[in-house]
C-alpha cells in the first residue's frame, strides 16, 4: 500500500464506527473466505495443471466463456433500454413491471429453467411455432445463452436503474435546453454519466452468467461441447473424479475473480474520474 493512501485512512476518524461492529464484520468476512481457503487446501496441486487442461475441462471452459459473453451482450441490448424505461418513463403500473423484472433474482434457477422449457421447448408456448419454422432451441448452445440471459438480466437492469436514479436528470434537462433531442441526450449525456453503473452491471451479469447452473441443466441439458458449461462439468466430475472437480472449481473462481477485478474495479469504484 502506498503511503498517501495510508495517510488518508488515518486522516479520517471513524465517527460512525462503533467498536462492536468489528467482530461480526470479521465473522462475515471469514464466512465468505473460509470455503475458498478450504478449496485451495483440498486441491491436488501436483496434478492441478493436468486436471484443468484436460480436453473435457478445456471444452467446458471455452463453452462457458463463449456463452457468458453472448449472454452479456444480450443483457446489454435488452437491459439498457429496459432500465431506461423503468427509471425514466411514467407509465402506469411501472412498479408491477419492476417487480416482474426482478423476479428471476428470487426464483430458484431450476424453476427458471423449467419455465424456459415451457416457453421455448418443442411443445412450449413459443417453441411450437419455432418448431414449425424449423428452429429448435431447447438443449442447444443457444438454450444455454438464453438460460444465462434469463438469470443475469435483472442484475444489469437493477444496477443500471440505480445509477439512472442518482442525479443525472438535471444534466439531461440542460442538454435539452441546449437543443439536444431525446436520442442525443441518452447517447451523449445519460449513458456516459451512468457508465460506472453500467460497467458494474455488465460485470455482475457476466459473473452471474458464468456461474449459471440450474436453469442451464434444466433447459439446455448437459451435452459435452454443446451445453455442458464449466459449472455443469464441475458437478458431474464431482461424482467421477473429485480432485478434478475441485481443480475446476478453483479455475472458475479464478476466472470470475479476474473479470470482476479487472473490468469491475472502475465501475465498483463508483466515481467517474
Amino acid at each position: 500500500m502506498s503511503r498517501p493512501a495510508a495517510l488518508r485512512r488515518t486522516a479520517e476518524p471513524a465517527y460512525a464506527l462503533p467498536g462492536w461492529v468489528w467482530a461480526p464484520a470479521g465473522l462475515g468476512l471469514l464466512f465468505l473466505v473460509l470455503p475458498l481457503a478450504a478449496m485451495a487446501v483440498a486441491t491436488d496441486w501436483v496434478h492441478f495443471w493436468d486436471l484443468i487442461t484436460s480436453p473435457s475441462a478445456r471444452t467446458a471452459l471455452l463453452l462457458s466463456l463463449r456463452t457468458a459473453a453472448w449472454a452479456t451482450l444480450l443483457c446489454l441490448l435488452l437491459g439498457v433500454p429496459l432500465a431506461v424505461v423503468l427509471a425514466r418513463s411514467s407509465l402506469p403500473g411501472l412498479r408491477a413491471v419492476r417487480t416482474l423484472v426482478m423476479l428471476p433474482l428470487v426464483l430458484p434457477p431450476v424453476v427458471g429453467g423449467l419455465s424456459l422449457l415451457l416457453t421455448y421447448g418443442r411443445t412450449g408456448l413459443v417453441g411450437r411455432w419455432l418448431e414449425v419454422a424449423g428452429v429448435r432451441l431447447a438443449f442447444s448452445t443457444a438454450a444455454v445463452v438464453l438460460a444465462q440471459t434469463f438469470v443475469a438480466l435483472p442484475f444489469l437492469v437493477i444496477s443500471l436503474e440505480g445509477a439512472l436514479r442518482t442525479g443525472t436528470r438535471a444534466y439531461e434537462r440542460v442538454a435539452a435546453t441546449l437543443g439536444a433531442g431525446p436520442d442525443t441526450v441518452l447517447r451523449r449525456i445519460t449513458l456516459p454519466l451512468v457508465a460506472p453503473g453500467l460497467v458494474s452491471g455488465v460485470v455482475l451479469a457476466f459473473a452471474r452468467a458464468l456461474g449459471e447452473f440450474g436453469a442451464t441443466i434444466t433447459f439446455a441439458g448437459s451435452l459435452p461441447g454443446t451445453t455442458r458449461t464449466l459449472p455443469l462439468e464441475i458437478y458431474l466430475q464431482r461424482e467421477v473424479d473429485p480432485d478434478a472437480a475441485v481443480a475446476l472449481a478453483l479455475l472458475l473462481v479464478a476466472v470470475a475473480a479476474t473479470v470482476v477485478l479487472t473490468v469491475g474495479r472502475r465501475g465498483f469504484g463508483g466515481s467517474h474520474a
Partner: protein, 388 residues
Amino acid sequence: MREAGEVDIDVRLPERHIDVTLTVAPGRHVTLLGPNGAGKTSLLAMVAGTLAPASGRIRVGGVDVTSRPVHRRRVATLSQDALLFPHLTVLDNVAFGPRSVGLGRREARDRARHWLDLVDAAAWAARRPGQLSGGQAQRVAIARALAAEPDVLLLDEPMAALDVEAAARIRVLLARVLAGRTALIVTHDLLDVITLADRAVVLEDGKVVEDRPARELLASPRSAFGARLAKMVSVDGEVTEVGDGVVELATAAGPVIGVWHDAEPARPGAVAVALIDPAAVGMHPDRPGGSPRNCWRVEVERMEPHGSQVRVVARTSPAPGAPAGRRGVRLAADITPAAVAALAVRPGMELWFVTKAQQVRLYAEWRTPRRSTAEVDQAVAEGAGSTT
C-alpha cells in the same frame, strides 16, 4: 447573431396559483422578483418547457411553443448550479449545443472556441468541469448557453451560489453578453436589478403585482417586496386628511404623515402607500419632545449590518382598536454603531422611532395594469435615453 426573440406569456397553473400575462419585447431584460414560492421559477420552467401550464400559451419570436418539446424551443437556461457535463471537457461542453443541432465535431469546436473567447474562458478549454471554481464554471455555462444560439435566455439566480467577488465579475460579463438579447432574470439581488434589468416585474402568490421600469421600482416601490428590495419600508393605509402640502394616512402603525408624490391627486378614503427610508428615521429611548410629525413606539426585533450603519428592525404595537391578534407594522431605522452601543439596543427593547413628514413619500396604491406592456417598455426606453 440571431435576432432576439419576443416572449409572450399568458399562462395559468391553478395548483401553483399562477396566473400571469407578460410580454417581453425583443432585446429587453426583465427581472422577475418576489418572495420565495411566488412562482418565479415555475414561470421560467413554463417558458423553458419543463413545466406545462394548465391553460394559456407561450410564444417565442411570434411562434406558439406551448406544446413544443424543450429541445425545440430555442430557450436556454442558466441556473444557480452551472451544471457543466462532468464527463466532457470545457470545450466539448460549449460545443454540445452546436453539435446537437447537427454541426460536425470540428465546426462545433471552432464555434465553442469563439464563445469561450468571448467570456474570457479560452484558457480552460481542455479542462474538466471538476477542475474549475464556481465562478469559472458559471462563465463556461454562459458560453455554453450562448453557443446554442437561443432566442431567449432564462437566468435563475445564476450568481446566488457564488462569492461576492466572483458574482460581481459574472454580473459584469452578463451585462455585456445580454446586450441585444431577450432575457428573463429571476433574482433576489438588488444589484442584478440595477445592472442587468430594464424592467422589473414583482410576482406575489403567482400574480404580477408590479410591472415597471427597474429604475422606477427602486425609486418608489409599491409592493412590500419591492420596498424590501429597495431597502425601504412600506406601510399601506387609507388617506384620512389632505392638508396643505402634507397628507395623513391611517395605518396599522397609527397615523402616518408624509408628502404626496403620486401623479394622481390624493383623495380621502383612497388606499395609499407610505414609503419610509430607514436612513431618515431617528431613534430615541423616550418619547421625544418638539414636534416630529411621525412618532412610533416600537419593540426591537433584530439588528443587522447595513453598510457603515446598523439597521434596527422593530415592530410597532398594534394600533388602538385594532382587531385582536393583529400584529404591528415592521419599521426600520439606520443608526450609527456608536448610537446603538450608547443606547445598548437589544432585541425586545422598547424605543421610539421618529421621522419628519418631509421624509415620508406617499403614493396611491399600485394597481395593475396601470400601464400596458408597451407603455412600460416606452418608459424603459425613455429612461435609458435620459441617463445616457
